[in-house]
Structure formats: structure tokens, C-alpha cells
Amino acid sequence: MRRPNEIERDEKSIGTLVELTGVFEGIASMRIAQIKNQVLQATAFFNDLWEIYSQLRVDNLFRFGRSQDSSKVLNKDLYILITAEGGFSGDIDQKLIRVMQQTYDKDKHDIIVIGHHGAMQLVQQGISFKKYFKLPTRDKNINVSPIIQYVQQYQKTTVFYQEYISLMVQDVKRIELSAAVQQQGKESEENEKKEIITAENTIFEPSVYGVIDHLERSMLQIAMSQLILDSKLAQYASRFRAMTASHERAEETKAEYHLEYNRAKRAIKDQRLKEIINGLRKAKVAA
């Protein structure tokens, strides 16, 4: 049996782990609440912008803000993978790459990866990617313009991201980016009476098409930011889940150590008592 002071040392160190996992769990939970609030605010903003854009549209085509000129568009599809920056996010990134591999063809698709963890996973699996972007650390005013510049070069863009379903459930989803924009727009369009904005009833500066292109780029950026935020939300939830499990395990181990410590101390006391009784017996016999 181990000595009580050794067990006490282990108990103390596992106590630190209990506190740390508790703190990480708290931080993850706080971030989840903040991001959820931001997603709601950004959705309301998007809906207002979509309302104007939908009143301006002359057809249902979404042109990714590349104006009426589509001649420079690459005849390839772009895959964007939104993964975690660090390795504290459970196994959801591996799952995301597995989903992407189901349809990936290196001759037909180019990959852009957001997040260091995903980039490492791709390298390990021998999958090359065109560009790697760091996952934005801040949750507000995410600058997605460099990503949108790539998006505009391709005929179709599919985003693979982590979706937050609930605190305990996160899933991997794929969505075509233009569909993501239109999907968000449709949600805001329901039960609304449409009014048309034309050059006859509105003054445009610089021009109608200039404004439409700008709005399309803006909505792409908001939709992309929303997907990044959604992924971050799922990553925090995944981290929260992992930390909750670690916290519980650490607490159980701490309780086991405490029990072992008490047993060890008791065993020493029993041993000493036994020795005293034996000593007394021997002294009695000798007397």
C-alpha cells in the first residue's frame, strides 16, 4: 500500500486539475452565451439588408458580387473547411474532414481551410489545400474579405462547418454558400409584402448594379461570418462537453484518492495499535 503523504500529494495535484477543468468549463459556457447573442444580432442585421436586396433583384440569380461579368470564373468548385484553431475541440474536426472526403475530388475541387487544427489534419492525411487561414480569435467584426475574394473566383463554393444544435449535440454540416445566403434571406422573407426598388422611384449612387454587387458581397461576408461564428459556437460547446467530462473524471479520481488516503492512514493506525497491543501482551507475559 502507498504511503498517505504520497497519496495526499496526488490528491492535491488532481485537485488543481478539478479547478482548472471547472474554470475552462465556465469560460466555454460564457463564450457560448456571448456568441449566441452575437449570432442573433447579426441575423437581424442580415434580414434588414436582405429586404433591400430582394426588392432590388431583377432575377433570382446570386452573382457573388462579381457583377454581370462571369468570364473569369474558374471551372472548379471551392471547398471551405471551418475547423478549430487548437486541439481542445474533441473529435469534431476529424468528423468534418471525413464528411468532406466523401465528395472530394482533387481535380474538381480546391480546398481552403480555416483553423490550424483542420490544416494539420489535412496534412497528416496527405490532402493538399490551396490556402490556410487562421480562425479569427475575436467574435466581432470578423474580416472575411480575403476569403470572399477566393469565393468570387469559383463557380460554386461549399462550406463544411460545425453546427451547434445544443450544448451536448454538435454536428458537421455542408452548405453551398449562395444557398446559405438565400436560405437566410428566405427566412426573413416569409409573410412579407414585397415592394420593388427601381431607378424610377429611388436615387442610386453610384449605380443600381454597383449597389447590388456591393450588397451581394456584403451578404456573402455576413453569411460567411455567421458560418464561422456557428462553427466557433459548436467548438466551444464541444470543448464544454470535453471539459465537463474531464471535470467529472477528475472529481471521481480525487474522491478515490481521498478514500485511499483515509484507508492508508487507517492502516497505519491499525498497524501501530496492533504493535502496541502485541507489545503490551509480551510485557504482560514477561511479568
Binding site: 444580432q41 467584426n141 436615387i203 449597389v211 455576413i222
Partner: protein, 105 residues
Amino acid sequence: MAVRQDASTGEMVDDGNSEQSSIDPTMMEIKVYSPYQIYFDEQAYSISAVNDTGPFDILKGHHRFLTLLSPCELLIRAQNGEEKIKISRGVMYVKEDKVTVFLDV
């Protein structure tokens, strides 16, 4: 509030003109916001900004107008004084005495 004290009874009574007196006919609704923050959302007299053509002002009764904004300082003249908001880019939409400025887009 258009509430006055009745001279004969001493009670506070509403003279029924509260709505009329609170709305200034020269004011319009102005909302300036970005995806994650609301900078201004009140009634005001005017808003000044800059687009590709140059500086311009919007007052009540302006024609419907949709423009891309250049980097500038928005100047809003409200009841409590002037408010300045520095912007890098944005979209302004004016419709029926309501001005909406979308920032960071």
C-alpha cells in the same frame, strides 16, 4: 408629456395633445448599426455623410435614396446635440423619413 394641473380641482390631467407635442415635424427616424452593434437609433433633424460624389445631407422629406458610403465621419443632428460616428464603409438607405445606415458592409 402634455400633462397639466387642473386649476379648479388641483388634479393632474392629460390635455390629450401628448402625441402631437412629442413628435417634431422636422425630425426623422435614424438608425446607424453594424452586425454586432447599434450606434444610433433615435429621432434626429439631419444626417450628413460622404459618398463617391461628395458630402451630402439628408433632411426630412428626402427622396428615396440608396447609396454606398465612403470612409467619413457621420454627423447626426439630434435634439440633444450633434453626434459624430467615424465609419470606414457602409450603405445608407432613405425611405419615407426613415434613414438606415448599415455599417461595416
